[in-house]
Amino acid sequence: MRRFLGMVLFSVAVPLSMVLLSRVVYFIDGWAEHGALYLGLPTGYGAAVANVLLLMAGVVQTTAAALTVGERKWSAMIQNRIGPNRIRILGLSAGGIFFLLADALKMITKENIEPSARSRVLYELAPMAAFAPSFVLFAVVPVGPPVDLHVGAAVHRIALQVADIDAGLLFVFGAASLAVYGTALAGWSSNSKLAILGGVRASSQMISYEVSLGLALVGAMMASQSLRLEQMVEAQGRLLFGFLPALGFFLQPIGMLIFFVSAFAETKRAPFDLPEGESEIVGYFVEYPGMKFGMMFLAEFIEVVVLAAITSAVFFGGWHPVFFEAYLKQTLSPVWFASVCAGAFLGKVLLLCWLQLVIRWTLPRFRFDQIQKLCWKMLLPAALGNVFLTGALILIDPSLELLAVVGLLEIVAVIAITGAVSRRVPAGGRTSAAREAVAAAPH
């Protein structure tokens, strides 16, 4: 019971702390902008630098690092175990968070063993080439809405977004494809047959899935008629039929599914983890010791966070606190409203990270031909069909209401098919009812 109350408290405290964190970021952004203007820098410079430091280096990095422990702890909960709890400070295991320190210490102090026949420059470059692009993706993600902040006597318009560039989603595609270089270079430059096979697997998988990744977002682009992520988020704040928020999830459920799967393949995690396959087959970073491996490892988790951020921005309404928006806007001051919005966004990101970890622990690894089949024979045709369907529906009804109706029908269909479990009796076995009867009988 004590744990139940504690966990309920924890679940309430996390969103609240997200809101407070957003408020702090807004505050620091405001002062950074003020200082930058005072120093004579152009508008938006100070806030952008503060955002890079706070959001990208702070929030994303911290979340990704915490996810490495979270994965162990959460998988333990899924599998009826306790999980890491042996490192204790003052008798507290604190959910295993101290393993972060132990991991960091281990990575940093490990002996640096390098293959003698490596191509040196590329070998050193590869972890950074894997690390940087996934990081950069977060630059275009709008974390919080723009708001007028009063700093001293001046008023600055601050948004929690590093860069609002016209290319928007195209930048996302471009930066995401750069991640291939990291894996391919790591495989090639280690001068190891196993590593290069892993690198080739990684490249082929990532290049395949980029096709469906791009096509899956075309529908969402058409619906919001923009490539800029902040405008896509803005467009999702409208109400259709007067009550239904125009979320990408309602307009583009199939597109969301395809995007999520493709992006999942881009992160190279189970069930798509055959480029690395840490446990059995050997991956592209076999020859990397210590912190270089650590960077590859961390890059994976940063990709998880960034994927969650982009999915929630494009399909789950970004920073809109969906159903409570009107009420919150009336009751709160603009700055606090913006903070709540940003907190809602961070909460969505956390939920989607959690969803990804759950999926990672649900499915076993694909075989290579299954991966390619899934991409080229299922996702790609479905994505193309989705593009045509969306285009036609928007052409017929530019108010998107028809698109929403079809989207809701798609969701209902998916739920119906998922729920329609055929109760086949396994030969030689028992039905579930018979098994329960046996289990209930006294031993």
């Binding site: 744990r3 966990m7 009826n80 175990r81 306790i82 649900t362 329609a420 479990v421 055929s422 076995g429």
Partner: protein
Amino acid sequence: MPYQLEDQDADLREQMYFPEVIRGVGILMRQFLRNFFFGREKNPDLLARDRSLSQNATVAYPEERVAYPPGYRGLHRLVPREDGKPRCVACYMCATVCPAQCIYIEAGEYPDDPIEKYPVKFVIDELRCVVCGFCVEACPKDAIRMDTGEHAPPSYDRAAQVWDETRLLRGPPVSYQYDPWLRRGSPSIPKEKLAEMRARAKPFPANAGDEYAQTPGFSVRALAAEAKARGELLGRF
């Protein structure tokens, strides 16, 4: 008991792949939330745990221990009499039957009692012991038992694994009505003590049932329950 699943082709719904994945994710989410919100029951008796909320099956070993079954062969002990001396009469049966030859006995006599023998030295090398339990079976006096429910504790040197009579002689005392020192009396036992021991003695079991497999008051489960009551089994997780 695992039940056989016939190897059959996937039906259309399963071939669509995603519905099944969504179902699987749903199952795992439920399991996660269950174990997230509800704490693990710490009952070391796994089968008695209430699994309706959290299904966590872990026993955090060094802090919590599963009670061993009554027949578990643990560390040896030399069973004491009521007056604190060993029941052992140094007959060498256990040392003879021991397949690992890990028991060493030196016999001695109580100076004022010409009949009674006792072990001056009784040494068991726990590293050589194969835990077969033959010594317990061979003993005619129920003087050696393996009912402590403990493992041989780890040590940094081999010498610590050689247990002599001072370490082996422990646990609750046992007296049987036919014990020679009770029937005849013994100069080494004071008169009033002897009367008390006679009063407490039981008949020797004709065949060893569950009641005799475990000394009353020395049950492993009871020890675990006591430790739990003292709060030693409650770690923080």
